[in-house]
């Protein structure tokens, strides 16, 4: 709201210069966007949505009147007597959307405005049109009441009907645009058709121009949601709609017309042709709010002298009755934001000065519960991944539909936004991976080769809805660059190792099984499973990103990206927690045996491990695959798998015989189950 310094000074005495005015009002809740010091001087205030009463100079003058303890210099307008008894018939049909409608007919001489008027409008940022329109705008900018002038000769039947628009009804508004109306909007119509969208904009057909001699001046109070709906649906924001949709003063319509009439007379622009028509079917009672001194101190944390209450509230327009402890406060019509005691305490507080409120520290009566386990666990997960060389990324929760689709379960579609920012952000991500892949591609385009990124966040699966997940993406080298090392590109087992290590942090071991996913390369995709009792739950997915998907997102062909995604609810449910009991250290030495066997290439290592475990005595404490070899000496279609087995007795030192018996049993089981031959 552009407040003209010279104009404001006319309404209230202000001792300071423009910078002081801006600073003082700024500290009372009116943020200053800009100052123009050139005469007449303009301060552009950002008026918060709760203060439509300050979208005009009088409202700001009331604030200034409290600050500088100077009275308002407002005198009642000199309203001329009507020259006759011409009126317009007002048919207020939808009083729920228009509680008050005032209209008065004026005989006018349309002409350009005098310089003082058009200069002021321009300073306030409103374009001058002609003396009639300019006066309505002037009144709005001075005391807040939006008004509209119709050319009476162009109103069919010489009457105004305030009603909801008819479905399919159209209106060409003043800006020349043909608008389609609907039944949710309120219009001002004549006998045959809509002629203005109430509180938003008038129609071109009833616009006044140089030939106009008789006008109907409208000054009304429209229901804020009705104006808001009209303005939103038409995509039309005007000076009038901005004021009405925040709440208009029910008492202002007659005052607005009186003020305009006085100005018309003063400028010899026109005289009333008849009396004011005031349709005001249901008058609300006075709004009264109780204000207690004790409550002010309680909310602000600072006692306020009782005299400050009337000193602050009266110049703001409130009626204040009562003694030193408690007041009955009458709320003026223009203060639509004040409905309860807290609202009045805010008025007292902001003029008392927030700088005079002391700084205290609220006492703590009882200890807080420990933080939620999920927060602690996400923090641990983050630490584990960072220690594994992954940097934390944050990507958007909404993505392109095309990027999301490969990551949805077969046949499912990602959740759509109703009003996305653009097609690039049209759906909720079903996985964190598309965002991470894009982040990898972004880095790759900027000459970064070795990229490890992770993200912890929410994903939105079709069907199950919102859930927490962690995703990883890795491309480039498997280890840090060094002059002594030969570069090796990342592969499946690098990222699998990170997942194994990370899950071990939570005391979890998972099974890995070959799987198929639309976004993963065939033969290099797996699901991770955790088992508890008989339940087998999918913990996550792991594999090489399908090259076509990578290239689609701008990744160079021929480079491999490995990705993984974990369902955090599964991971955290499986977490053994911190309640562990320390095991005593082993008392007897362990014995290590290495064995190499020839088995079919397609036999999963997990099957070999399973056979070993089920055929070994309980003294077998660990199985580690340490070599996998194909080539010279190994028949086609077979591999040589080397496994290191560690045995230890719980109650005695194992003898060579003990271990040999165990090894014999294991080897014969491998031979029988898999046809494994020892090398």
């Amino acid at each position: 709201m552009r407040i003209v310094h010279e104009w404001l000074s006319e309404l209230v005495e202000i001792p300071g210069d423009i910078a002081t005015v801006a600073a003082e009002l700024g500290l009372r809740g009116f943020e200053v966007a800009a100052i123009e010091t050139e005469p007449p001087g303009v301060i552009d205030f950002e008026i918060t949505a709760n203060r439509p009463d300050c979208l005009n100079h009088l409202g700001m003058a009331r604030e200034a009147s409290v600050i500088w303890n100077t009275p308002l210099k407002v005198t009642p307008p000199a309203v001329p007597l009507p020259t006759g008894d011409v009126t317009v018939e007002v048919d207020l049909r939808d009083a729920d959307l228009c509680p008050r409608y005032c209209a008065q007919v004026f005989d006018v001489k349309v002409a350009p405005s005098p310089a003082w008027l058009s200069d002021r409008l321009q300073a306030a940022g409103v374009r001058p049109v002609n003396n009639i329109v300019d006066v309505t705008n002037y009144v709005m900018l001075e005391m807040g009441q939006p008004m509209h002038a119709f050319d009476l000769a162009r109103l069919d039947g010489g009457r105004l009907v305030i009603r909801r628009a008819l479905t399919g009804e159209t209106l060409q508004t003043l800006d020349g645009v043909e608008r389609r109306l609907d039944a949710e909007m309120l219009v001002i119509a004549d006998a045959s058709r809509a002629t203005a969208v109430a509180g938003v904009m008038g129609g071109r057909d009833s616009e006044i121009d140089a030939s106009t001699t008789r006008i109907v001046l409208e000054s009304a109070c429209f229901h804020p949601p009705a104006v808001r709906r009209g303005s939103k649906r038409l995509g039309l924001k005007t000076e009038a709609s901005t004021r009405f949709e925040r709440g208009a003063d029910i008492d202002a319509p007659p005052a607005g017309i009186a003020h305009a009439g006085a100005l018309f007379a003063q400028m010899s622009a026109g005289l009333p042709a008849g009396p004011l028509v005031d349709c005001y079917p249901s008058r609300p009672g006075e709004r009264q709010v109780r204000l207690r001194l004790e409550r002010i101190a309680r909310l602000l944390g600072q006692a306020v002298p009782p005299g400050d209450v009337p000193r602050i509230l009266r110049p703001l327009g409130f009626g204040v009755d009562g003694g030193d402890e408690e007041w009955q406060v009458t709320v003026p019509g223009f203060r639509v934001d004040v409905t309860r005691e807290a609202d009045l305490i805010e008025e007292v507080g902001r003029h008392f000065g927030f700088d005079r409120i002391p700084a205290a520290f609220p006492p703590l009566a009882s200890p807080q519960p420990p933080p939620a386990a999920v927060l602690t666990r996400e923090r641990l997960l983050r630490q584990a991944l960072i220690a594994s060389g992954f940097s934390e990324a944050m990507t958007f929760a909404f993505i392109e539909a095309a990027a999301a689709r490969p990551f949805c379960p077969p046949g499912a579609e990602p959740a759509l936004l109703a009003n996305p920012l653009s097609e690039k952000y049209a759906v909720l991500r079903p996985s964190l991976l598309p965002g991470l892949v894009d982040a990898c591609a972004h880095n790759r385009r900027r000459a970064q080769r070795d990229i490890r990124l992770f993200e912890i966040g929410s994903r939105f699966l079709p069907g199950t809805g919102e859930g927490r997940a962690a995703a990883l993406a890795w491309c480039g080298a498997a280890s840090g660059p060094h002059w002594s090392l030969e570069d090796r590109a990342v592969d499946f087992f690098d990222i699998k190792g990170v997942l194994e290590r990370t899950c071990a942090t939570f005391g979890i071991e998972f099974d890995t099984r070959p799987a198929e996913r639309a976004y993963l390369a065939a033969g290099r995709a797996a699901t991770l499973h955790v088992r508890s009792g008989s339940a087998d739950t999918v913990l996550g997915v792991l594999g090489q990103l399908l090259p076509a998907v990578a290239e689609e997102r701008g990744f160079p062909a021929g480079e491999e990206i490995y990705v993984a995604e974990l369902d955090l609810s599964v991971l955290f449910d499986a977490d053994a927690g911190e309640d562990l009991r320390a095991e005593p250290l082993p008392r007897y030495p362990s014995v290590v045996r290495d064995v190499s066997i020839l088995v079919p290439e397609v036999l999963p290592a997990a099957a070999v491990r399973g056979t070993i475990r089920s055929s070994a005595p309980s003294t077998l404490i660990s199985i580690v695959e340490f070599d996998r070899y194909t080539g010279k000496g190994v028949p086609e279609g077979q591999i040589s798998l080397s496994v290191r087995l560690t045995f230890r007795g719980a109650d005695r030192t194992l003898t060579d015989e003990d271990v040999q018996t165990a090894m014999d049993g294991i080897l014969s089981a491998l031979r029988e189950t898999h046809g494994a031959v020892q090398r």
């Binding site: 910078a19 002081t20 801006a22 600073a23 700024g26 500290l27 009372r28 809740g29 943020e31 100052i35 123009e36 010091t37 949505a49 709760n50 309680r298 909310l299 602000l300 944390g301 807290a342 609202d343 805010e346 927030f354 700088d355 700084a359 205290a360 520290f361 609220p362 703590l364 009882s366 519960p369 939620a372 927060l375 983050r382 220690a387 060389g389 992954f390 940097s391 990324a393 958007f396 909404f398 759509l416 109703a418 920012l421 909720l428 982040a439 972004h442 880095n443 970064q448 490890r452 966040g457 929410s458 939105f460 199950t464 809805g465 919102e466 927490r468 280890s479 840090g480 002059w483 090392l485």
Partner: protein, 380 residues
């Protein structure tokens, strides 16, 4: 035939020169071979040549030659021993080559800052709670004193879902939360006062991208409710927070503002670090010979002139950090708290904005590009 005596002198000079010139052990060994080799060595050559000297001179020359030989041997031995001692021990490495660094990732700056903020409030006795990113209209708006058609809904342009999606809270959500306040409502629905919590998380607004806006950002909201909680408590907690995060030298002020869910409402400003709260940058040394530099009075409000105004705070001397206020009684009524008995305060801040201010990041979009050159500037 040269004079043998002169030959002796010039050989000594020549040797001394070569010995000085020898830098490495192998240089020294070369010198030794050239002078002392039994066959063809310069010293033995000299000795041989003495045969041609007059007989009465021979004993004296022979003595001189042997002295020279002994000197050469001693000098070389000393240098060679010194060189051997200076020789690096077996297995010596070049310690100046770069080491093999374990690969360690980096924290995202927003996550780092969020943890820092959580740490401060945890010390102040606040509980940290998390909640769904998808919300229903009631928890995002209505319970917060923003009924349908409320003009303040425009302050938070909302992204809606085409059809309801199940949220983390198990409810049918219709929108992406515009703030984390919904979690505070849920908490109050389930717990009686006293309440002292912060609710960090991602929030969504239909804002176009620019230097300071992204349609998704990270918020930390706080709520304190009890008997007798006042605006003074709000000021105390937030001042302590701002000083800890931005430094003790910062001035802090509350400025009246508007939020539908608080009454009274206030913005928290901190004094601008770039201009020290003066609103204009100090003139460069030497630019102002009159000595007026540094005399600029603290600016109470707005510096109207653009010239010389501080670009960081747009000449005001203050920077807006967060919004706050006393919880609106309508919010208490919505969750079943008695507004006569309980009072409370709430606040909310965007972590991105704090990060821009704290680290001097110029473009908020950097936080979501995940460029490693940016991320790696922050601590692991």
């Amino acid at each position: 035939m040269a004079d043998p005596g002169q030959a002796l002198t010039s050989l000594r000079q020549q040797f001394e020169q070569e010995l000085t010139g020898a830098r490495t052990e192998s240089d020294l060994r070369g010198v030794r071979d050239r002078y002392l080799a039994r066959k063809g060595g310069l010293v033995s050559g000299l000795l041989k040549s003495l045969g041609s000297a007059p007989i009465e001179e021979r004993p004296r020359l022979g003595q001189l030659a042997n002295t020279l030989k002994a000197e050469i041997e001693a000098a070389l031995t000393a240098r060679l021993e010194a060189a051997a001692q200076a020789r690096p021990p077996k297995g010596t490495v070049d310690v100046t080559l770069p080491g093999r660094q374990p690969v360690i990732g980096h924290r995202h700056p927003l996550s780092l800052l969020r943890e820092r903020i959580e740490g401060i409030f945890t010390r102040f006795g606040f509980l940290v709670i998390e909640g769904p990113e998808l919300e229903d209209d009631y928890h995002n708006f209505e319970a917060l004193n923003m009924p349908p058609e409320h003009p303040a809904r425009d302050m938070q342009d909302t992204l809606y879902l085409s059809s309801p999606v199940r949220s983390l809270a198990g409810t049918a959500a219709t929108l992406l939360r515009t703030h984390t306040s919904g979690m505070q409502i849920r908490y109050m629905e389930r717990n009686s006062p006293p309440v002292r919590l912060i609710a960090p998380g991602r929030v969504y607004r239909r804002d176009q991208f620019d230097l300071t806006h992204t349609p998704m950002f990270t918020q930390v909201e706080g709520l304190v409710v009890g008997e007798g909680v006042s605006l003074a408590d709000l000021k105390g907690i937030l001042t302590a927070f701002a000083r800890e995060l931005f430094g003790d030298a910062r001035q802090v002020r509350l400025r009246p503002s508007f939020f539908p869910y608080t009454e009274p409402s206030a913005e928290l400003d901190i004094s601008c670090a770039a201009c020290g709260g003066r609103g204009r940058l100090a003139p460069k040394p030497g630019m102002n010979p009159s000595g007026a530099a540094g005399l600029a009075a603290p600016n109470p409000g707005m510096d109207p002139s653009g010239a010389g105004g501080c670009p960081m705070c747009k000449g005001t001397g203050w920077i807006e950090v967060l919004g706050s206020g006393m919880v609106h009684p309508a919010v208490f009524e919505a969750v079943g708290y008695d507004p006569e008995r309980f009072t409370g305060f709430a606040f909310g801040m965007g972590i991105e904005r704090i990060a821009l201010l704290k680290w001097g990041v110029e473009d908020i979009r950097l936080f979501y590009e995940n460029d490693l050159r940016f991320l790696e500037q922050f601590r692991p």
